[in-house]
Amino acid sequence: MDIVLESLAKIVFMFLLIMGMVPALIWAERKGAAFIQDRTGPNRASIAGIRLAGLVHPIADVLKLVFKEDIAPTHRHRALYNLAPWLVMTVAVSTYAVIPFGDYLELGGKRIPLVVADLQVGLLYVLAVASLGTYGVVLAGWAANNKFTFLGGIRATAQMISYEISMGLAVMGLMLIFGTLRLTDIVAGQGGLLFGFLPMWGVVLQPLGFVLFITAVYAETNRNPFDLPEGESEIVAGYHLEYSSLKFALFFMAEYCHMVVGAAMISALYFGGYQIPWLPRPRLEQNAGLLLVIMLAAIIAVSLWFAVLFLRRVQREKGKFGDARDREPVLGAGLWLVIAAAAAGAFLLRPWEIGPAGASVAATVFQVGAFVGKVVFFAWLFIWVRWTLPRFRYDQLMRLGWKVMLPLGLANLVVTALVLAAVGGGK
């Protein structure tokens, strides 16, 4: 019974983490794109005149999509048309099952590993499930019975086949080094130090493998510069052209879920997952009190800085709009002051006198925080890259996949194997 509850709790945590990140990412995408292009971005939707820098827009988006009429083409393949968005979404969220988001949580003398399913073949599971996602895209393109969606589906197929090979080859390098497919072991293996000072992250051991992997992940998630299946300037909207209302919302959400999965995979395989460099678990537990104090101080400093920025805006923009929007900087300053006060209040709990049980929990929290931080960074990298690079042309995509990444992946694998054989490392 306990194991069921534990698993349920972990599943809910992971699911909420993804689903919570989706609207945040949509917001970051729109606002980040705007700022990169010197625009202000979404700033009109408001609740009682408070706009929260565009954070209200995802709510408005969702409401709009929920209440829109679900228009479907007459000559669609009904079953496949309805299946496709669910397939894409299910696949997007089920990859998470094997990604460890923390080492273990020690509660009441019980160690709970922080991964939903610690599969022996975790890495294979990820590759297998990720390629299932292509079926959703291809089925959507086929079932809608439209030439543009069909082209999108075909593009997706060709692209996935080309890049999945390089992805597998890139990951095989890591497999040789760590001698396992179990993701928890791979992440745990990245906790050490190389030559005594370099964190033994995948990116340090396999720099070329990392570049190949991240490129393949971008291609797998259909994000720029590899968003040819969507290709809105060439094939309208590609595979999801004929979908509207909630079915379109599912595709849209699945894209962001894929991004979070991709980010989690990149950080788990190549950036040590939950590992904090130079702070392995025992040292984290020993110094939990000190680290808590440092963290609280940092939170106070940062939130005070933000509060000061907002207070300066209050002064500068007094009566700028003449309505509720004038209260926004005041609210912002208040929010950051409350956060600073809460962090200061946490000092009353004497975090430096934390006991061993608390220290263990604190260490887990730090590690989960490190993992989430890495995921957030790589999810942002997806957005950042999208608004920096133009889309590849189709022949360029194929040339890069087959003529550049495949040979490089093979070379990386061979060199890794030779070096491992020479130094007698690996397993």
Binding site: G32, F35, I36, Q37, D38, R39, T40, V211, F321, W384, V385, W387, T388, L389, R393, D395
Partner: protein, 168 residues
């Protein structure tokens, strides 16, 4: 057919090895966008975006907006229905029906004077053609919207009331 080479007669230089490896260029590109992003986060006010309905761009005096008909001192239209504007109009959007004026000093007056604002190209040639300065495009009104095509055909009464500040 190959896309590899440069087109014949191209003056472009070949990319260097480092550039054709693409990776460094990607990082440099990310640097450019990051610079824009950070500048706009910390100096939001410096962005060129205008919050349109609240803030409006100031146009020059010679900006051609929605037409108006000028009035005599007694409030009747200055127009003598000579058809010069509608003849000259390249978009063919002015429709005038002339009628006899009761005052013998004035030959004709427009019984109807309609302008189709959807056809109008705002070139200002009607202004130039008018011998008695009866039509002008100096109202500065450019927010012209309606929910039906017919509502864009404005009549004499509307044009007489259509003044520079858009009220009266």
């Amino acid at each position: 057919m190959s896309f590899e080479g440069l087109p014949k007669g191209s003056t472009d230089k070949r990319r260097s090895l480092l550039e054709s490896m693409y990776l460094l260029e990607v990082v440099r590109g990310l640097g450019v966008t990051a610079r824009h992003l950070l500048r706009n986060i910390f100096h939001t006010g410096d962005m060129p975006t205008m919050q349109y309905p609240e803030e409006k761009r100031v146009y020059g005096d010679r900006f051609r907006g929605r037409h108006r008909l000028m009035q005599r001192e007694d409030g009747t239209p200055r127009c003598v229905a000579c058809q010069m504007c509608s003849t000259y109009c390249p978009a063919d959007c002015i429709y005038i029906t002339a009628a006899e004026h009761p005052d013998p000093a004035i030959e004709k007056y427009p019984a109807t004077f309609d302008i189709d604002l959807l056809r109008c190209v705002y070139c200002g040639l009607c202004e130039e053609a008018c011998p008695c300065d009866a039509i002008r495009l100096d109202t500065g009104i450019y927010e012209i919207a309606a929910d039906h095509r017919d509502k864009f055909i404005v009549d004499k009464e509307f044009l007489l009331r259509n003044t520079t500040d858009g009220t009266r």
